[in-house]
């Protein structure tokens, strides 16, 4: 399918210098973004003796097993729901498809710990479901019957899957839409059944996007703290805080966090090996897409139901319970505090989305052009910071930032008798940097998945025609990447809206976001007070989700 032609050296040399500059800037940016992970390595190296022997003797085995099971469960769940739903809405037509197309993304807007709380309230011993069952059957207490415990590992797997499957759905659907129908049709003409065409053609072609989506969901699972702590599931992230806060060992906590990064690195490396040098592009992908196959009768009903279920469980049900429990407080949504928090949230989210999207585009482009090992390594390492819990990563940021500020201040004072104080620490720039580091994986993942679908033969053709690097991006890549970049921007925007631990630790004085306002009540499980803020986060996230779906559809529509 792909025809990779080495460009004639004469043409390439003409633009050598610009490629060099692009590469250098990218390496510099990568180094900056990798700084926090480096700081954590520095901490971990000076761990006090006794911590590791204690951990390996007692809890490390349990953390490893439970975390692996959680990751395995969520990984399987998000792949089944995400890929399945993406294929159904991309390849078939059935009732409600156009609504479900965007509704399937809705769970993105809801913070997972809020969803976890709503389900616990509904399903635990004191909740309405079990109380009703007890009344109905005359059971007196827990000894009279058995009911699955929501605060458990399976409970955590289900909740986290319901909230994270949209990562896979979003990226996979974009990939399916970008696939040329010709490939699938050719397979059908060769006598393959519809399902065989899916398994043997469409799915393998979408593999890079699926892998990115699942990797993002898994990293988010590993850094997740709210739900697993609430459900009392002993995983690495809860262990990290136990070691940090209760044992007073940031060093030991950093070591545990880096083990997460190492695990993710090994998994991704293994996947890359398995994929080897296969490229998953189709030179004719700009060919107009054909109509979807119309489903009828029971099949159509089944498709509608299958796609509705995750939307209901991951969004509609918890959202309506949330509204139901707090409708009498809804006027709290309009207080001045919440309004200024909303503005702060939107500003931070928009800036983070912008910075991450541009940086991702730059890094992905530089990686495609140069393939320098240092750059690839740095970008991977920087993106994997996403697997680290936000408050730990925040320490990795404020340590080097404050060290820089203090060094500059000392130097200025010695040389000129001036004091610069803290230039970056405790400013919005530090917080924005933090969000960039934390969410680079999202932006880079989405952008790279898009780049992999752009055939290299196009680059070569453009270069042969004398296009420089800027021209290449603007006239060839951007039109093909627009949907991916918008996906990147949306993911970062919505995740920054929900971002909490890093904002808490890095923010300037008197700076509240929707997430921090909500958290101050949620941390004491005062969910009634927390609800207006939580609703505001969800509502602020829903609008861009709908816009994005619209844009993806526009972008994938054939142009005349």
């Amino acid at each position: 399918m792909t025809l990779a032609v080495a460009p004639p050296t004469a043409v390439r040399r003409g633009h050598d210098r610009s490629y060099l500059v692009i590469g250098l800037v990218a390496i510099l940016a990568t180094g900056l973004v990798a700084l926090p992970v480096g700081a954590l390595v520095w901490f971990a190296l000076s761990v006090e003796p006794g911590i590791w022997p204690h951990l390996t003797r007692t809890v490390l085995g349990n953390y490893t097993i439970t975390t692996s099971l959680l990751a395995l469960g969520v990984g399987t769940g998000v792949t089944l729901i995400g890929v399945g739903a993406a294929w159904l809405v991309a390849a078939y037509d059935f009732p409600l498809r156009r609504t479900l197309e965007w509704a399937l993304m809705m769970p993105l807007a809801a913070p997972s710990y809020i969803v976890a709380f709503v389900y616990t309230d509904l399903l635990d011993y004191a909740g309405p479901v079990q109380s009703t069952l007890r009344d109905l059957f005359g059971w007196r207490n827990a000894a009279d019957y058995s009911f699955p415990e929501i605060r458990s590992l399976p409970g955590a797997i289900i909740i986290i899957t319901l909230v994270l499957y949209p990562y896979v759905y979003l990226l996979t659907r974009t990939a399916f839409l970008a696939q040329s129908r010709a490939a699938v049709e050719a397979a059908r003409m060769q006598g393959l059944s519809a399902s065989a065409a899916f398994w043997r053609v469409a799915l393998p072609m979408a593999r890079p996007a699926i892998v990115v989506g699942v990797a993002l969901a898994l990293m988010e699972t590993l850094n997740e703290y709210g739900t697993v702590d609430f459900f009392a599931v002993p995983v690495f992230s809860t262990g990290i805080f136990h070691v940090w806060i209760n044992m007073g060992s940031l060093e030991g906590a950093s070591g545990l966090a880096l083990m997460l990064v190492a695990a993710v690195a090994i998994l991704l490396l293994a996947e890359r090996r398995a994929r080897a040098d296969r490229r998953f592009t189709d030179a004719r992908s700009t060919r107009p897409a054909q109509a979807r196959a119309q489903l009828h009768g029971a099949l159509a009903l089944a498709a509608t139901l299958l796609c509705t279920l995750p939307v209901v469980l991951g969004f509609l049900l918890p959202f309506s319970l949330l509204v139901g429990s707090s409708w009498h407080r809804i006027d709290a949504l309009f207080t001045g505090d919440l309004a200024s928090a909303l503005l702060n949230s939107l500003e931070l989210a928009a800036l983070a989305a912008l910075v991450v999207t541009v940086l991702s585009l730059w890094l992905a482009y530089a990686g495609r052009m140069s393939g320098a090992p240092l750059l690839r390594l740095g970008t991977r390492l920087a993106s994997m910071g996403y697997a680290i819990p936000g408050s730990v990563l925040a320490i990795g940021i404020l340590a080097p930032f404050a060290a820089f500020d203090n060094a500059l201040d000392a130097w200025l004072f010695e040389s000129f008798g001036l004091s610069s104080g803290l230039l970056l620490s405790g400013t919005l720039i530090a917080l924005l940097f933090g969000c960039t580091v934390r969410f680079l994986a999202l932006g880079f993942g989405a952008t790279e998945a898009g780049f992999e679908r752009v055939p290299r033969s196009l680059d070569d053709a453009a270069r042969l025609l004398g296009s420089g690097p800027v021209d290449l991006v603007r006239r060839v890549h951007w039109p093909l990447l627009r949907a991916s970049s918008l996906t990147a921007a949306l993911l970062v925007f919505v995740d920054t809206l929900k971002e909490l631990p890093m904002t808490l630790a890095l923010r300037p004085f008197n700076f509240e976001t929707l997430a921090t306002v909500t958290h101050q009540y949620a941390v004491d499980e005062r969910f009634a007070e927390a609800t207006p803020g939580a609703l505001a986060i969800v509502l602020a996230g829903v609008v861009p989700v709908i816009l994005l779906s619209h844009t993806i559809r526009q972008a994938s529509r054939p142009r005349a």
């Binding site: 004191a126 800036l351 923010r507 941390v523 499980e525």
Partner: protein, 342 residues
């Protein structure tokens, strides 16, 4: 929107950000606060302080990382005062050497010696007790309880508690180590584990609800959660189904913990910092704060909210909180060994 348009906007955004940073925290009379306590609990006090003194308070709240931020910022830190929600964190701040000794006759008079640092680097603002909540239906009304007794076989399958890795549980276990030593406490912890009705989960209020629902007979919880529940019509029935019991009233008294504050070593406005802490321990502020978070005032003779008054008089464990805090790492590792670290 093109990429190039985006970059232009980024530059504009960055310029705006720089403008924003320059104006931060430079008013004449002010004090900068790093708070481990939530803003909604602090704000009424801060507003009253500003109204009284004219000193503006700037605040950053975080439940994790403020200590590390102070350490990293070093001598250039803008923070003048740190407020924490437990004594353990104050001990961490002392260990990290980021607090200064304060000379204040007012504070020394207001705060009893066991509720402040021996070198006056921190002072309690309010206090609370970690008590037991017994079912009114299934535990005799005159039954006295002790922390030690939680390991007795008679409570098998009848005790509910939050996760043992939570700082409140770690602090309670630390106080047991401070009174009985490590070996004894380890056996005790195993006994408590054997008596649990269910996997430790939820917050303190969830334990009270579990007693009310009949899942267990005794819950471990802080005093102020009971106050919060009594003042909420929806949660009131659950709170009324339990009887708060101050443990060890015949012996050393009930385990205490505090919300406390200290002035930072590199404070730019140390006098204002001391003023703020003095204000927080003044009768007026003590009334506001105790009504706000349902903790007990640290100052004697202050009128207290009815929901806290229901607890009545009780005997407090006089042990120094600094000594309790010193056992935290031992307690945390003990929890791991007992297989209670979820």
């Amino acid at each position: 929107m093109s990429v190039f348009g985006s970059i232009t906007r980024l530059a504009t955004g960055a310029a705006l950000l720089c403008g924003l940073t320059a104006g931060a925290a430079q008013a004449a009379e002010e004090v900068n606060l790093y708070s481990y306590r939530q803003p909604h609990l602090m704000q009424p006090l801060i507003d009253a302080f500003t109204a009284d003194t004219g000193i503006k308070v700037n605040m950053v709240y975080a439940n994790k990382g403020l200590l590390e931020r102070l350490v990293a910022e070093g001598r250039n830190t803008p923070a003048d005062v740190v407020i924490t929600a437990n004594a353990g964190r104050l001990a961490d701040l002392v260990e990290a050497d980021v607090l200064r000794s304060v000379t204040s006759p007012k504070l020394e008079a207001a705060v009893p010696a066991n509720f402040r640092d021996p070198q006056n680097r921190w002072f309690a603002i309010t206090k609370r007790s970690r008590v037991l909540y017994a079912s009114r239906e299934r535990v005799a009304a005159d039954r006295a309880l002790t922390y030690e007794g939680l390991a007795d076989v008679e409570w098998k399958g009848k005790i509910c508690a939050r996760q043992f890795t939570h700082p409140y549980m770690i602090d309670l276990i630390s106080s047991m180590i401070a009174s009985h030593g490590e070996a004894w406490t380890e056996t005790w912890l195993q006994g408590v584990k054997a008596n649990l009705a269910r996997k430790p989960q939820g917050n303190d209020r969830a334990q009270i609800k579990a007693v009310a629902q009949g899942e267990c007979d005794i819950a471990i919880g802080n005093t102020y959660y009971y106050g919060i529940m009594l003042s909420d019509p929806e949660q009131r029935p659950a709170a009324e189904a339990v009887r708060p019991v101050f443990p060890n009233q015949e012996g050393r008294g009930a385990h205490m913990n505090i919300t406390g504050a200290g002035v930072t070593k590199h404070a730019r406005h140390p006098e204002n910092g001391v003023k703020l802490i003095e204000y927080l321990t003044s009768p007026h502020a003590q009334e506001i704060y105790a009504a706000q978070n349902f903790e007990f005032p640290i100052l004697g003779g202050v009128s207290i909210a009815p929901v806290i008054a229901v607890f009545g008089e009780f005997k407090e464990d006089p042990v120094s909180l600094a000594d309790v805090a010193a056992q935290r790492r031992a307690a945390a590792q003990m929890v791991d060994r007992a297989g209670l670290s979820s």
